[in-house]
């Protein structure tokens, strides 16, 4: 099963100026079975249980760094970490648990850390993962039968 890549593009300057996330954060994924609200902060990405999901963040202006410092699901509070590594050393990926019920939506919140003088953290709520109704029937996991 190919991983699902979610790319987060951030207009950091606009965010720091107080513009709403809807105008400053743009999410895309490479799902081949259709996403909802692609290019917005409300992207809904279809995912299969056991599928690897990767997030990466890119500032629109390369001179204004931004990093993902946390991702939390369904309102789950993020435990305060100890010995947290530098945000630029973090990468965010994980397997969708097999217990996810088909058809359910799991919203998540991205926490962005900007590299400006203030090092502000900004939470972006809105994107979600949508659990596919059928598990694991991707193009490369469907068994190939010999022609009759």
């Amino acid at each position: 099963m190919p991983p699902l890549n979610v790319q987060v593009f951030v207009d950091v300057v606009a965010l720091l100026l107080g513009n709403p996330a809807d105008d400053s954060v743009f999410l895309f994924d490479d799902s081949f079975c259709g996403s909802e609200d692609s290019g917005t902060a409300k992207l809904a990405s279809p995912v299969w249980p056991r599928q690897l999901v990767r997030w990466s963040v890119t500032p629109l202006d390369v001179q204004t760094p931004v990093w993902l410092s946390a991702i939390s699901f369904d309102g789950l509070e993020i435990p305060a970490g100890t010995n947290v590594p530098a945000p630029w050393a973090l990468h965010w990926q994980g397997y969708a648990p097999c217990w996810l019920a088909p058809g359910t939506r799991h919203s998540y919140t991205l926490t962005l850390l900007t590299g400006g003088l203030t090092g502000r953290t900004i939470s972006i709520a809105g994107p979600s993962l949508l659990v596919n109704a059928s598990t694991g029937t991707t193009a490369d996991s469907v068994p190939i039968h010999a022609a009759a």
Partner: protein, 241 residues
């Protein structure tokens, strides 16, 4: 990670004293990453994978500015306002004549003061407004394969369309010295004309390279685990796909 290294130069004093020492200040956008390791030293935070390979690239960009120069935040189009053909026809004598590679070339745009006023090309007091140009990045860090400098295209008119950038081998942790060669321009009289000649200066600088393991934000280790979706999650059902 893109790192901007801005070299602010007191051009008039540097030309007068013949040195950049005490007349040039190096600042960059890596302040939030770490406390500065020293004056004219740039922090370069690196990241490595479990196998030790480099996980993220670090790119340096050098931007020299004069204390009395135009703000770098000014749109490039501002200067372009002055290089339209009718303007050149009327104000051709205002164009700066600069010696580059033993040839005298006319600067395509007029010289502007920090206030945006057009300066006459024979105004010797205009030296502070002629942009400094980085001409070379060299030194031990380059020779030892820490720094890989190259020139890239730029819309800057005085630099002949180039600027210096470099990638860094962040596996080479520690402090590394390099030198920035900068050209400042001084006016000289030549056959009754004012020609701006480059005078070359060297500024010793350094890189403080650190490297951290690129760990998974969810697990705190190199390897990924399960996404932390609550097991008792009774989220509102979305539409099945």
């Amino acid at each position: 990670m893109q790192i901007s290294i801005v070299t602010v130069i007191d051009i008039v004093t540097a030309l007068k004293e013949g040195t950049l020492d005490g007349n040039a200040y190096v600042i960059d956008n890596t302040g939030p990453f770490d406390s500065p390791a020293g004056p004219r030293v740039t922090n370069v935070p690196g990241v490595y994978n479990a196998d030790g390979s480099q996980a993220a690239e670090a790119v340096l960009n050098w931007i020299p500015v004069g204390v009395g120069g135009l703000p770098t935040t000014l749109p490039r189009s501002y200067r372009q306002l002055f290089i339209s053909k009718p303007w050149n026809d009327r104000k051709g004598d205002l164009r700066l004549r600069v010696r580059q590679h033993n040839k005298v070339r006319s600067y395509a745009a007029p010289l502007l003061s920090a206030a945006g006023e057009v300066l006459k090309s024979d105004n010797v007091a205009a030296a502070a407004s002629v942009s400094p140009v980085v001409t070379r990045i060299c030194g031990p860090a380059v020779e030892q394969g820490v720094l890989y400098p190259a020139q890239y295209g730029s819309p800057d008119l005085l630099t002949d369309g180039w600027y210096w950038s470099a990638t860094v081998d962040t596996a080479k942790v520690g402090c590394h010295d390099y030198a920035m060669e900068v050209a400042l321009y001084r006016p000289v009289q030549e056959n009754g004309d004012t020609v701006w000649e480059p005078q070359f200066f060297t500024l010793k600088c350094g890189l403080q390279i650190t490297s951290a393991p690129g760990v998974n934000g969810f697990t705190g280790s190199f390897a990924p685990g399960l996404l932390p979706v609550p097991t008792c999650s009774t989220v509102a059902a979305g539409e099945a796909i």
